[in-house]
């Protein structure tokens, strides 16, 4: 059984149908990359996986949870799914360490001392061990994003979702974040990334899903990035430098 599977997912915002029947799947330990032009529905599809948006039709299954089931226990889903946002969304009034410790203490009822160790460990993995007592505004964009990744990792999810996490960063800071994500991929984390970083996708992805106007237009391994079959994907890649 796939770790993540979307089957014929539809979603509209008012009169606009953003997802018109999206279908793809990802196995455990695989890295999936969602690419496409703005408006293709890729971010929406990602957000639907973690129930940030509810779908109108179809099925979504993640780590054994039926996301489209209205009776789903959201907390149980969120224990298994971690998500990192484009705008980091760190809590500004808490230090980096407190940001990371918050969920383990409040949701998993971990003790303070143990949570502090978890936080130190997570910060080590992303290369920010010395920033545990800093506030988010004291960090660069790249550091904030890595802290956000650490915050999600501390909950030990089965699946990680990355929503254009480097789009707001300049090239230098982008690199440090991508290195962390690559390390994560190598360690066997199942993940889906919505990204414009084609080179990174070529290096790290197991599966590439190209979305166009609310549908999966083409999907396959990284070979479709070098040898796109459909004209839309060819067009999309040709604009991408």
């Amino acid at each position: 059984m796939s770790m993540i599977s979307l089957n014929n997912v539809t979603k509209s915002f008012g009169a606009v149908q953003v997802l018109k029947g999206v279908t793809f799947a990802l196995e455990k330990g695989e890295v999936g990359v969602l690419i496409g032009a703005s408006g293709s529905g890729k971010s929406t599809a990602l957000r639907c996986i973690d129930r940030l948006e509810t779908i109108d039709g179809g099925q979504i299954e993640v780590a054994g949870h039926r996301v489209d089931d209205p009776k789903l226990d959201l907390r149980k889903l969120r224990l298994d799914v971690g998500i990192v946002f484009q705008s980091y969304n760190l809590f500004p009034h808490l230090t980096v360490g407190e940001n990371i410790m918050l969920a383990p203490c409040s949701v998993k009822k971990v003790g303070k001392a143990q949570a502090r160790e978890l936080a130190a460990d997570a910060l080590n993995r992303v290369g920010l061990a010395d920033k545990v007592d800093s506030y988010p505004e004291q960090l660069s964009g790249g550091q904030q994003q890595r802290a956000a990744i650490a915050r999600s990792l501390a909950m030990e999810p089965k699946v990680m979702l990355f929503d254009e996490v480097t789009s707001a960063l300049d090239p230098k800071l982008t690199g440090e974040v991508l290195r962390v994500i690559e390390k994560l991929a190598v360690s066997g984390m199942t993940m889906i990334m919505v990204t414009h970083e084609m080179n990174f996708a070529r290096k790290v992805a197991n599966k590439v899903v190209f979305m166009h106007q609310g549908l999966v237009h083409e999907q396959g391994g990284t070979n479709i990035l070098s040898k796109p079959e459909t004209p839309e994907l060819q067009d999309f890649l040709s604009h991408d430098l």
């Binding site: 940030l52 907390r75 969304n89 009034h93 918050l102 409040s106 949701v107």
Partner: protein, 225 residues
């Protein structure tokens, strides 16, 4: 026209007692008013249709009727229901009732000022709605609207003067008594006004100190949120 302040100042003990009660009323109702206000703000934002309607009705009623009339309605309402509370208890209830509505609007603006991404990030970490409001919403919201909250609670302290009308023996009531004994209304009320002014200054200082304790990030970094 001669002014004789000494006649008033010999009753300094009464003024001090009145001021102490005013301070006590202000302190208690700041806390109770903040609690009620925050709960109603949450109700107005995240409650079901009935809860939201009740919250709006409460807030609009308080904001569109005079405090004096609210005190009388509560005072006579409670006694007609058979309760015989002390004047101070009724004063606390009425002041809380009043400031709770204004605080609810201030806190609602505070919660609204938090970006959606913050709530989403907390939700995706598995926090429950209550935990979201407590850990993610409360302190940033308070920090954003702290000046408005401070002003509101100082106004509350000034509004406590109206409770003299239900015989609460706070500062204005003390002034009323003293001027009726000394026949020096001008001097009496000038001194009373100056004491209120002093209380406002003390309150402002207390809120500043409280802010430093509540908002460690601001204390350490000095930047706005």
């Amino acid at each position: 026209m001669t002014f004789d302040f000494s006649a008033v100042l010999t009753s300094w003990q009464m003024l001090a007692d009145g001021a102490a009660l005013t301070a006590k009323l202000a302190s208690i109702t700041t806390i109770t008013g903040f609690l009620i206000g925050t709960l109603f703000a949450i109700a107005r934002r995240s409650g079901g249709r009935v809860l939201r309607g009740c919250a709006s009705a409460y807030i609009e009623t308080v904001r569109n009727t005079p405090f004096l009339v609210q005190i009388f309605v509560i005072y006579f309402g409670l006694s007609s229901l058979g309760f015989s509370f002390s004047a101070i208890t009724v004063a606390v209830i009425a002041l809380t009732f009043n400031v709770g509505a204004y605080t609810a609007e201030i806190m609602r603006a505070g919660f609204d000022s938090i970006q959606r991404g913050q709530w989403e990030a907390g939700e995706c970490l598995g926090l429950s709605p209550v935990q979201l409001y407590w850990h993610v919403g409360l302190r940033p919201a308070m920090e954003r609207v702290y000046p408005a909250l401070t002003s509101q609670f100082i106004l509350l302290m000034l509004a406590s003067s109206v409770t003299s009308q239900i015989s609460a023996e706070e500062l204005t009531a003390a002034g009323n008594f003293i001027q009726s004994e000394t026949y020096r209304p001008f001097e009496t009320y000038i001194i009373v006004a100056l004491i209120y002014l002093a209380l406002s200054i003390v309150m402002r200082g207390a809120f500043w100190g409280l802010g430093m304790a509540l908002f460690p990030r601001r204390r350490r970094l000095g930047t706005p949120l």
